[in-house]
């Protein structure tokens, strides 16, 4: 049974429900997307774009991941192999049962985006949270203005969501894609260069932007966006801190008086400026 946010609050929010992985897509050498349903083939929960879920192989660990997309009966998480749990997840096969709890976090402010032109900027696995919003815009295309996506990775092999980038999204009306890789590479005739420089070069005029990627990408892209005239409340990003509970209790993920798991992970630049500079 798919549970709503309200129902999740009724049940013990720290105890996961049993779910299963029904499909695994190898995105890059170290990123796989997992399609997850409940045992009776329903969505484990119904997340808003940008919301999070705690996924577990209970004997090994539990970690927070963005829900990168949802379908009629499943949710998707794109997971990079970096440590104990994520390596173990990369070993599992379709049919594996897992624990899941959520949805957590605030998600993207959909109403704020309605009718606006949106610039999406992603680097590496950072496209995962951004993709949940892109998919929402694609599904409800008429609710949003022009969509532009700038996405970069180290190499062609490191680009996540290739099926979306090269097959699905190019067909979406009024949507432009700008994909770049860090260095020249055989068999790549697309753009070469880092994301911040590419963004600057493209000189966009849209109304709001969502960006997510490694700290260096964010650091160098921000000045470019500011130069293009984006206001702080129109620059939206997601943060990562270590998380344990996901519900604002364990104290792990605070930045100042805010808990990223509850009050985030989505923040505007305006909000971030109110927070302490280095946690």
């Amino acid at each position: 049974m798919a549970v709503t946010v309200e129902q999740v609050k009724e049940i013990n929010p720290l105890v996961p429900i049993k779910a299963k992985v029904i499909k695994i897509v190898q995105e890059t050498p170290d990123v796989k997307t997992f399609h997850i349903t409940t045992i009776d083939d329903k969505k484990p929960f119904d997340p808003l774009p940008g919301q999070l879920g705690m996924l577990s192989l209970p004997a090994i660990g539990e970690a927070m991941f963005s829900v990168t997309n949802k379908g009629e009966n499943h949710i998707e998480m794109a997971i990079k192999s970096v440590g104990q749990l994520t390596e173990a997840l990369h070993e599992i096969e379709e049919g594996q049962e897992v624990g899941i709890r959520g949805p957590y976090g605030n998600g993207f402010p959909l109403d704020y985006f309605k009718g606006k032109d949106i610039l999406f900027i992603g680097g590496g696995i950072g496209l995962a949270p951004v993709r949940s919003l892109i998919m929402e815009c694609v599904r409800n295309r008429e609710n949003y203005g022009k969509l532009s996506v700038v996405y970069g990775a180290r190499s062609k092999a490191d680009l996540c969501f290739k099926e979306d980038l090269f097959e699905n999204w190019p067909k979406v009306p009024n949507m432009d894609l700008y994909v770049t890789i860090d260095r020249e590479e055989e068999g790549w005739d697309g753009h070469v260069g880092f994301v911040p420089a590419y963004v600057e070069e493209l000189a966009f005029q849209p109304q709001v932007t969502v960006l997510c990627g490694p700290p260096v990408m964010i650091k160098f892209t921000l000045p470019a966006l500011q130069k293009m005239g984006f206001a702080d409340q129109d620059i939206i990003t997601t943060l990562e801190m270590r998380m344990k509970c996901g519900i604002g209790k364990c104290g792990r993920c605070n930045i100042g008086s805010c808990y990223v798991c509850l009050d985030g992970p989505v923040f505007t630049m305006e909000q971030l400026k109110e927070l302490p500079p280095e946690y």
């Binding site: 209970p58 104290g251 792990r252």
Partner: protein
Amino acid sequence: MMKIIAKERLPEVLQLLAKDYNVLVPAKFEGVSRFTPYSADVELALEENVLMPPKDIFFPQTEKMYKFKAKDKSLEIEELPVEKEEQLIFGIRSCDLKSLECLDQVFLTKGYVDHFYKDKRDRTALIALSCLQPQEACFCGSMGVDPQNGVGADIQAYDLKDKIGFKAISAKGQEILEKISGLLAEEEVTIPTFGEFNLKADIEGVPEKLQGMFDHPLWADICRKCLNCGACTYVCPTCHCFDIDSEVRGEDGVKIRCWDTCMFGEYTQMAGGHNPRPTKKERVRNRFMHKLRYFPERYKMLLCTGCGRCVVKCPVNLDITAIIKKIKEAE
């Protein structure tokens, strides 16, 4: 008029209550005072507050959350049976009652209820005990706590030197008082005046002032002595950070949560080696900022009750009242 009993007859009251409740009393055990299940042979410690705060009654140091069984591709998750036993704490002090207010904020508000905490909170009655005299490091009076009148208790008990007086506060307290009324006499009493605090803190304006002090040089100064041992967070009645882990034996496992401390380096360690709080300066700053500014900002109350435990237990004498003073005096 107040219901009273001679102090040496208090065990009779506890004995009677123990018929209906798991009664927890302040007692010394192997040199450490803590709340302990009452039995005739416990060594009651009523002279001063217990060293170990009552938080572990509601939020145990390690707590089982659920069981699981993982075999090949299959997984079973099973919630643990909830305890039904009604508990009663006798002798909780005003400062520690205040800490329960803090923990209630954390575990019961902001959209999510922590079921493990709530369950224990709901089945625990509280008999507060007034203080006659502050200990060396007590400074609750500076933190808005009245050591002779706790907030949130079911019954307020008064230390009348050779007697103990009881006043019901809640309906539940009234019920409890009726159970023991056969043992109590009725008497006109005067509550002894409270002693003088040795330690004081002037907290006025500190949360607001800290707003602009994130990068202040005083943190480097304050943290110099700190060993990052975590003793302060361990004995603190309000520190509530926890970690989640599992114990696995073969196919079977239990998820547990256990107290954690922001004083340890790995607390915020992230992938790729980045740690937003790499040195003790950031960690010490986070602890005091959390208590004196972040928590007030989020929950409209301080995360320090003035119980003084951290002052007593810190191996290098980091004293929160001295830190409050430094903050007050900082340029």
